[in-house]
Every structure is written in structure tokens, then in C-alpha cells.
């Protein structure tokens, strides 16, 4: 028996509160008052540890080491849908041990080309100490993303001195190597502290320093350390106004490094890592083989990257475009859905049959991931749309329910079989939310190939979507549904909140209401342009300010 009254929790991603006061810095009283920060949508900003992805990108930009050395670190905890959430990036003994070994490897590789590390100083001419200090200051500033204090310089110099005086080491390079090792294990490298300046603008609300802002922008929009232009802006203290910050954000989105951001976000939001383990029963799907998996992934990645960074940037286009990116093998898998011919292994833009395909949603990769090994899965597809695109939270199936997909019945279509199961009153409560959405995708088989018939019967790709904010109704086929989703406020605000979580490395709290409202306003005003949303993410109070660091435990907190 099922417990009665399983509730469906629908997120209204819209604003919780209205009437937040808009701007900061009007010369109000400087009283320490929680209410001030809350009313301004300003929260604490936790320090956050670099993810493996960010670590790899950072040593690439810091030392030219593109070997992906952080791949050996333990994987990040995947929480709230993303692997970059500050609350979950804790440490472990194993992580700390591996940090040491990774730093040793990176350091050893870096000093193989010592001249590249020290373009302006020659130890033979200028002396070891002078060059060591030059390196420590320059490298340290880039590694810690701020100038080093004199104590920090001396500390690293002490490590250098140890190495050059050790009887078994002694070379200048050895000294530089251990400086790199020590810097890469420092919390100033491994974490992103965003403590804010010392002077509150109002209440206990403080802005970030220009150095912190350079780092915030860089990891948010590039998933790596700041470049020379950001460092120069920080040095000149030119990252303090909204206009300065927006100008940098706009510049950064035009840079190739923004591709890392777009790919990383969509890998996680669209659950593309699940694609790596997709397998199919080849007696049912002879066209499937393992070499398709990376092509399916690349199709989606190339598409979202193009739309957002080179195309019109619109969420509508992501959901409804009648074009995609393919190479010869993939185009041949799609068959008649692709107009014209594609040759060779390179991916390029192709025109799709607009009656059959729409945006990323109907891509073979997504369709195949959200399917069973030998049949499509209306349940999985409906669940994907509900959770990832509409931000619905679906309850888990009851603990002791025996769940299994129906056996293949050669007399029936998948839809007919799932309709029988869905009619069971024990299941209907939740499955009316998922299955009918899945039915709308029934033209795509378990590998995402188009089909008009199944088991000799015509496909019926109609389904009734219920319990949404604004797109309830009957739809016939995924192209129709995709157009509806693109126009749905619920979907638009869901996408905005997914980006919020990913970009700010945390979930939305009730104190974020005015920032959320501001993001949704800008997103709407830009006709749902993702680039505009990304710039807007640098303009909220949630991004620009924090509450001053509280050095005491909160009352009632941990002891």
C-alpha cells in the first residue's frame, strides 16, 4: 500500500517577496542590523574550494600545465544538481594527501622550462635571491590572485632557501619547484575567500575588493583564474562599480574561455555525464554502438555553445532551433532528419527537419539517456522535463515498491503499455506528472531515432501536460511541446535559477528574493538571452555584496 496523500511539491521559482529596497549606498545609518542585510538581499559568502575542473584550468593558465593534474583528486560531491556547491566542497585526508602529490607533479613539470617561469630575471646575472623574490612576488600574486603580504613572501622565500641549501638539492630550480609546491597547497590558492572590504556601505553590508571581484568574475564566467586584464583592473581598483563589472563580464563572454563555462554548465544541467554509461540492447537497436556516445554528447555541447556564444543567445533558440551540429557518422545515424549531406569527422552546422526536431530537447543523446536499454521510457523523459526544465521536485517512489519497466510486448506500443501501468491508482498520483510528457516524445525510440510506427501501429505522440504554472494542455509531438516550454514563465525562471545555483555555488535562499527578481526581469527584458542573464548575474546584490565576516559563532550554532 502506498501512503496516502503523497504531495507534489511544485517550485514557484518566481519571487517570494516584493518591495525589497533596491539599491545600496544611499548613506543610511551604519548600524549593525541583520534586517538591513536581509532587506537588501545580501547573505554570507562562504569560502569555496576549487573544483577539479577549476584546478585544472587554473594551472593551465598559471603555469601552462594542460595535463589535467587534478583528475586524480577525489570527485566533488554532486549536490543540488551541480558539483561546485560551496556547502559540499569539504575536505578529506585523501584529498589533502593528493593535493600534495599533485602539487609535486605540477612543480616538477614547471621547472623543466625555468626560463619560461622567469622571463625577466637571470639567476646567473641577477643572483638567486633576487630572482627568487621576483618569482615569488609575481607568481604568488597570480597564484593567490592578490598581492602577497611581506610575511607570505618571506615564508615562500624560506622554503626556497631550504631547498637551495639542502645537500641533496641545491639548484635554483629546486628552490623554485618547492615554492610552487607550497603555493599550490596554500589555502589562498585552493580556496576562494571572498571576505569583502572593511568599510560597510550600509548596516553590516560590505562590497568586495577589486582583487576579490576579479576572482569572482573569473571563476564564475571562465571557471579559471583571472587573466592579465582582470588583474590590471584589480590593481587599478577598477572593479568597484556595476558598470565596470558589467563591462568586464561582457568582455569575458566574448573570450574563448567562456566556452568552458557553457560546456561545464550544460554537462551538469542536462545530465550529460549520464550519457557516458548509456548502453543499448543491440538486438533491438542494431544501429547503436559505443562510438555514438561521444558524438551525441558533442552534438549537444557544440549546439549550446554556438547558440549562446555565437548565435542569438536565446533560450527559445536552445529549445526550438531547427539546426544542430554533426559529423558524417552522426548525420547518418539521424538519417532523413538531416537535410543535405555531411562528410568527414568534423562537426558542422546542419539543417534539421523542423517537423521532427527542436533544439537540444529532441537530440538523440538526451532521448537515449532517458530511455531503457530496449525501449523508450516515458517516465524518464517526463522526469527530465519536470526536474531539469521546470524545476519541479518529484517525490521519491515509496521505499518498498517493486519497480520494473514493462516487458516488451510485441502487440503493443510503449505508450499503450505505460498507460496501463499509469492507470493503476497507486502510481497515478505521481506518474500523471511524468508519463504524459514522456508520451509526447514517443516518436523517438530508445536511441533517439525517429519512428512513425512501433510494432506495426502508428505512434501516438499526444500527451496531456498537467499541474504546470502556465502550459497545461494537450500536445502532439515534441516540437509542439518545445515551443510551449520556450514560452513558459515557469521554464524561463527555472533556467534562471539553475544558472543562479551554478554561478553562485549555492542554492537560492529566501534572502535572495530581490536578486532573483532582478535576474528574471533582465532575462525577460532581453527576450531570454542567456548572455544577458550571465551579465545580470554580476549585477545583483547577492553577487556584489556580502555581510561582514562574523568572527564569532552565531548564537545557537555549532559549538
Amino acid at each position: 500500500m502506498l501512503p496516502q496523500g503523497i504531495k507534489i511539491y511544485l517550485l514557484l521559482a518566481a519571487v517570494f517577496l516584493v518591495g525589497c529596497s533596491g539599491s545600496i549606498g544611499g548613506g543610511g545609518e551604519l548600524a549593525i542590523n541583520d534586517d538591513v542585510a536581509k532587506s537588501l538581499c545580501v547573505v554570507d559568502t562562504p569560502i569555496r574550494r576549487l573544483t577539479r575542473f577549476e584546478y585544472n584550468n587554473t594551472v593551465r593558465d598559471l603555469l601552462g600545465d594542460a595535463t589535467g593534474p587534478a583528475d586524480v583528486l577525489p570527485p566533488e560531491e554532486e549536490v543540488a544538481g551541480f558539483n561546485n556547491q560551496a556547502a559540499a566542497l569539504t575536505s578529506s585526508d585523501l584529498l589533502i594527501e593528493q593535493y600534495m602529490k599533485v602539487a609535486e607533479d605540477v612543480g616538477a613539470r614547471a621547472v623543466l622550462d625555468i626560463d619560461a617561469l622567469l622571463p625577466t630575471c637571470d639567476p646567473g646575472l641577477d643572483g638567486n635571491d633576487t630572482c627568487a623574490l621576483t618569482f615569488i612576488r609575481d607568481f604568488g600574486r597570480r597564484a593567490f590572485r592578490r598581492p602577497l603580504s611581506q610575511i607570505e613572501v618571506e615564508r615562500l622565500k624560506g622554503v626556497f632557501d631550504w631547498a637551495v641549501t639542502d645537500p641533496d638539492l641545491g639548484r635554483f630550480e629546486d628552490g623554485i619547484q618547492v615554492v610552487i609546491e607550497a603555493a599550490l597547497q596554500s589555502p589562498s590558492f585552493l580556496y576562494r575567500p571572498e571576505l569583502g572590504g572593511e568599510t560597510p556601505v550600509e548596516g553590516d553590508v560590505v562590497p568586495f575588493t577589486s582583487w576579490e571581484m576579479a576572482t569572482k568574475l573569473s571563476y564564475m564566467l571562465w571557471n579559471t583564474m583571472p587573466d592579465a586584464a582582470l588583474f590590471a583592473a584589480a590593481e587599478a581598483d577598477e572593479l568597484t562599480t556595476k558598470e565596470q563589472i558589467a563591462a568586464q563580464a561582457t568582455r569575458m563572454l566574448d573570450d574563448d574561455k567562456a566556452r568552458d563555462l557553457i560546456r561545464n554548465f550544460h554537462t551538469q544541467w542536462l545530465l550529460l555525464t549520464h550519457l557516458d554509461s548509456v548502453t543499448k540492447d543491440t538486438s533491438v537497436y542494431p544501429a547503436f554502438d559505443d562510438s555514438l556516445r561521444p558524438l551525441w554528447t558533442e552534438e549537444i555541447q557544440a549546439f549550446v555553445e554556438y547558440v549562446i556564444l555565437e548565435g542569438d543567445g536565446s533560450l527559445r533558440t536552445l529549445l526550438t532551433a531547427d539546426y544542430s551540429f554533426m559529423n558524417e557518422q552522426l548525420a547518418s545515424f539521424y538519417g532523413d532528419d538531416v537535410t543535405g549531406s555531411v562528410t568527414g569527422p568534423e562537426f558542422r552546422q546542419v539543417q534539421l527537419d523542423p517537423d521532427r526536431r527542436a533544439g537540444f530537447l529532441t537530440s538523440a543523446g538526451l532521448m537515449a539517456t532517458h530511455a531503457n536499454v530496449n525501449q523508450s521510457s516515458p517516465v524518464f523523459r517526463g522526469k527530465f522535463v519536470r526536474e531539469q526544465l521546470m524545476c519541479n521536485t518529484l517525490p521519491l517512489p515509496p521505499n518498498d515498491l517493486v519497480i520494473e519497466p514493462p516487458e516488451l510486448d510485441p502487440e503493443k506500443t510503449t505508450k499503450e503499455q505505460f498507460e496501463e501501468i499509469g492507470a493503476n491508482p497507486a502510481c497515478a498520483g505521481c506518474h500523471t506528472l511524468m508519463n504524459p510528457i514522456g508520451f509526447i516524445f514517443e516518436n523517438y525510440d530508445g536511441t533517439g531515432q525517429w519512428r512513425d510506427q512501433q510494432n506495426g501501429k502508428d505512434i501516438d505522440a499526444t500527451g496531456e501536460v498537467v499541474q504546470t504554472d502556465d502550459i497545461d494542455g494537450v500536445y502532439d509531438g515534441a516540437v509542439e511541446l518545445a515551443i510551449a516550454l520556450a514560452g513558459s514563465t515557469q521554464v524561463q525562471e527555472c533556467v534562471s535559477s539553475q544558472w543562479f545555483r551554478f554561478a553562485y555555488n549555492r542554492t537560492v535562499t529566501s534572502e535572495d528574493s530581490c536578486s532573483v527578481e532582478q535576474l528574471n526581469d533582465v532575462f525577460r527584458a532581453s527576450d531570454f538571452n542567456i548572455r544577458a542573464l550571465l551579465v545580470a548575474l554580476t549585477q545583483t546584490n547577492a553577487f556584489l555584496y556580502r555581510r561582514a565576516v562574523d568572527l564569532q559563532p552565531e548564537a545557537g550554532g555549532a559549538q
Binding site: I96, D168, V402
Partner: protein, 457 residues
């Protein structure tokens, strides 16, 4: 000036190839502590995890403990006098806890604590106010408790070793060890990396080893100073986070100088390392064997006294392609079919039999290592843990626990006991007693009032 290239230290790791290094006996590498000095072999404990329940209908051994014709456990027949099969032990705490069957099954298995509330593991909206989802496990796990206690007596190279075979993801579904509530311990999944981490000390040039230790100490000293200064600027919550990081560095430095204990049986294992493909489904058996080989040698060399080997994770999706009879469907998928589905039942038999064969391989290796009058297995207790009793019902009652090895005579092995519904927390208490670190209860005390009776001699 003598200069030693660090690369020379790593010559043992030839990815994809067979690796073996001869054993030098050098004074410089003798341990500061360990079995060789105390004269008696230490007790050890190993946790062994497999997922998705078992075939409960055929799992129990016959009354005479003759396993030679057992459908699942025939491979364990030669060792049956060193085993205890536990029937009727329930993970009762899981039924009080929030979280789904698999989440509670693995997170409560070694903690006997309820899962913490939170929104970490959520789908769809993860925003405030949507809090029916869960956080991490809510207590220290018994392996970590025992490791902490042992660390008060003796410093081994590793306080504990957590090995994994294709655990892959990191979530409440995939962690069974916790250093504290909310602090999951990730397993070491890369056998290539493990080989270097465990055995690179066994190096023909002791001067190179000394140099590495010296260098690490020098670097870590600076890093710790950096940490101390850094933390002064942080708020309270962030400071807590960094405290743990700093503690790990201190711990690492303490263990730097502890080197391999060259006991009689301690040697670098000959391995067939899987190279970079260790996470590929079809390499599951090869990766697993390499991890088992290294685990046993790590124990023989006294690198640690507390270890675990976690095969995959709860909700394991491994496809057992290498067992010819089994459908190319994931273990989790297969575990969900109705009891009436003969094909799925046959597949689950093959899968659980395969795991039993791996268990027999590990125990066989351990029993082949002589330590005085005992074998390594006799000095150890190996605990087979599963997050469920059975996959299709998600029951966490009648979990298929097996104990192997007597832990130096503590356990009365060679028997099958039906406890008829005792909470599994009592088993965890028994394990603390066996290891000489006894507690009266572990985790939720209601479900861990003293040890299970009948297990000890």
C-alpha cells in the same frame, strides 16, 4: 652534490603492465612502530561492501556449514570454518531515518545513525523550502572510530585505507565511511595511483626517500603556517571548514616518516594494473583484483590496521558483461524485477556468486600469509556489508552479513547464527569489542545495546 631525480621513485608504476620491485632490507627504512617491533601481529579489520541486496532465498549456508554445493558460496567452502553467517540482523535505524532505501542502506550501514536533513541531494528544485531531501550520513562510521582509537596507540603509514572499485560518483548513495557526521570519506579508486601511494617507499635508494620526506616536511611546515594566518581572517563557519583541512595536513606530516614495515610476508605485490581504463565497466574485475592484491599487501606490510573495499556503490549500475550468462543490464536494473522473473533471478544468482568468488579470493590471499602461528586472516575480521537485504523490496531487514577471520580468536567462527531480528548496531558494537576498542553502544543507542551474543568465543 648528490642529486636524485624524483622520477626515479616512480619506476614501479608502469601503467597497464605487470609491476614488481625487489625488496631491500635497509636500516634506514625500518619502521618507528609496528608489528615487527612489538613482536606480535596486530589485529586488523576490513569492511567489504557490495550493493543491491542478495538472493535472500538461497543465501543461508546449510546446517553443517558445508558450502561445497552452495549455489552462491561454493568458492568459500575451503574457508567455511573461518566464517560466520549472520541471518536476522536488521538495519533498524534505516526505518527511522529520512532518505530512500539505498541512501539509508549505505549511509547507516557503518554509522548506525540517521541521515542528516538537508537539501544537498535533491533533484529539480533544490531551493530553500524544498527540504524533503537529505544531507550526508549522520554519524562517524565504525571503521573510522576504530581507526581513530588505534591511532592513539600507534602511528601507521595510513590511519585507515578506503579502497573503491568503480564507485565513481560522490553522493550520499556512494559513501559508507564518515570521519564525523556530515564528513564523508572518499575511497581511493585508482589502483595505479594506489600502487604509488602505498609502495613507492619500497625504493632501492633510501636517500631519495629521505630527501622526499625532508622536502615534504619543509613544504608542509610552510603550508601550515600559511593556514594559520589565513584562518585568522575567516568567519566562524569557514574557520571550521579550514580547521579540518589543517588537521589533515598535520596528520599527513605525522605520517610522513612512517615507512613500510618489512615483515616476513611484506612485498610489493605483482599486479596487473588496469592503466587509465580502471573506471571502464569491463575492467571491473581487473580493477577489483588489483585493489584486493594491494589491500592484502597493505595489511601484511602494516601500512594500516583498518581498511575497506567498496565495490561500486549503492544502486550499483555495473553490467556484469564478463559473466556470460548475465543479461547486459545493470545490476540495479536486474535487482528490481519481481521474484517471479526467473531470468532476473538467475542473473542475480550469477552476480552474487561472482562477488562471493571475489570474497573467497581476498580471504584466500589473507589466509596464505603466515604471521607466527596465525594467518593474516586469523588476525583480522573481514565484514561483508550490503546496503539492502534484497533489491526489489529495498528491505533493510535481514542484511546478508558475513564475518570472516577470527580477529585473534575473538570470534567463534565456523557457524551460522539466526538472530531473528536483532538491530545491526549491535554488530557494530561487537566489532569494537573484537578490535579491543569496546563501546557500549554505537550510533543510535536504542539499536545498539551491547554486542550481539553468540559471536564471540
Amino acid at each position: 652534490m648528490k642529486r636524485i631525480k624524483r622520477r626515479a621513485m616512480l619506476k614501479g608504476t608502469i601503467l597497464g603492465g605487470t609491476v614488481a620491485i625487489g625488496l631491500p632490507m635497509l636500516d634506514a627504512m625500518l619502521p618507528r612502530t609496528g608489528a615487527a617491533q612489538t613482536g606480535t601481529a596486530p589485529k586488523r579489520i576490513v569492511f567489504w561492501f557490495t550493493a543491491n541486496g542478495t538472493r535472500q532465498d538461497i543465501w543461508s549456508p546449510p546446517g553443517n556449514m558445508d558450502l561445497s554445493a552452495h549455489p552462491l558460496h561454493a568458492a568459500l567452502a575451503p574457508l567455511s570454518n573461518k566464517l560466520i553467517f549472520l541471518d536476522g540482523v536488521d538495519q533498524e535505524v534505516a526505518y527511522d531515518s529520512i532518505g530512500d532505501g539505498h541512501q539509508t542502506g549505505i549511509a547507516c550501514a557503518l554509522t548506525n545513525a540517521e541521515i542528516l536533513p538537508g537539501t544537498l541531494f535533491c533533484e529539480g528544485s533544490c531551493d530553500e523550502g524544498q527540504e524533503q531531501y537529505v544531507g550526508w550520513g549522520g554519524g562517524q562510521s565504525v571503521d573510522q572510530y576504530i581507526a581513530d582509537e588505534i591511532a592513539k596507540d600507534v602511528v601507521t603509514k595510513f590511519k585507515s585505507l578506503e579502497l573503491g572499485v568503480q564507485v565513481k560518483s560522490s553522493s550520499v548513495w556512494s559513501r559508507m565511511s564518515y570521519s564525523a557526521p556530515d564528513q564523508p570519506v572518499p575511497p581511493r579508486e585508482d589502483p595505479n595511483q594506489n600502487f604509488t601511494d602505498f609502495f613507492s617507499d619500497i625504493e632501492s635508494d633510501p636517500f631519495a626517500l629521505k630527501l622526499i620526506q625532508r622536502k615534504r616536511k619543509s613544504v608542509l611546515d610552510a603550508v601550515m603556517e600559511d593556514h594559520a594566518a589565513f584562518q585568522n581572517r575567516l568567519g566562524y563557519d569557514d574557520k571550521q571548514k579550514l580547521d579540518k583541512h589543517l588537521q589533515s595536513i598535520r596528520d599527513l606530516e605525522t605520517r610522513l616518516e612512517v615507512t613500510t614495515n618489512f615483515g616476513e610476508a611484506c612485498a610489493t605485490p605483482e599486479l596487473n594494473l588496469p592503466g587509465s581504463s580502471f573506471q571502464q565497466n569491463d575492467m571491473y574485475p581487473v580493477t577489483g583484483k588489483a585493489q584486493m592484491d594491494m589491500l592484502v599487501m597493505a595489511l601484511a606490510c602494516d601500512l594500516t590496521r583498518v581498511a575497506s573495499l567498496q565495490w561500486s556503490r549503492s544502486v550499483s549500475g555495473v553490467r556484469f558483461n564478463w559473466v556470460p550468462q548475465v543479461l547486459d543490464e545493470s545490476h540495479h536494473g536486474l535487482s528490481h524485477y519481481d521474484d517471479g522473473n526467473g531470468s532476473a533471478k538467475a542473473d542475480l544468482l550469477e552476480i552474487n556468486k561472482w562477488y562471493s568468488e571475489q570474497f573467497a579470493y581476498l580471504l584466500g590471499l589473507m589466509d596464505g600469509i603466515q604471521e607466527g602461528d596465525n594467518t593474516l586472516l586469523d588476525n583480522t575480521v573481514v565484514v561483508w556489508v550490503n546496503e539492502l537485504g534484497k533489491g526489489n523490496t529495498h528491505t533493510r531487514r535481514d542484511i546478508p552479513f558475513i564475518l570472516a577471520g577470527g580477529c585473534q580468536g575473538y570470534f567463534n567462527t565456523g557457524q551460522h547464527i539466526d538472530f531473528g531480528g536483532e538491530p545491526h548496531g549491535k554488530l557494530l558494537v561487537s566489532l569494537t569489542h573484537a578490535m579491543g576498542k569496546p563501546v557500549n553502544s554505537f550510533g543510535v543507542s536504542q539499536y545498539s545495546q551491547g554486542p550481539l551474543s553468540g559471536l564471540d568465543t
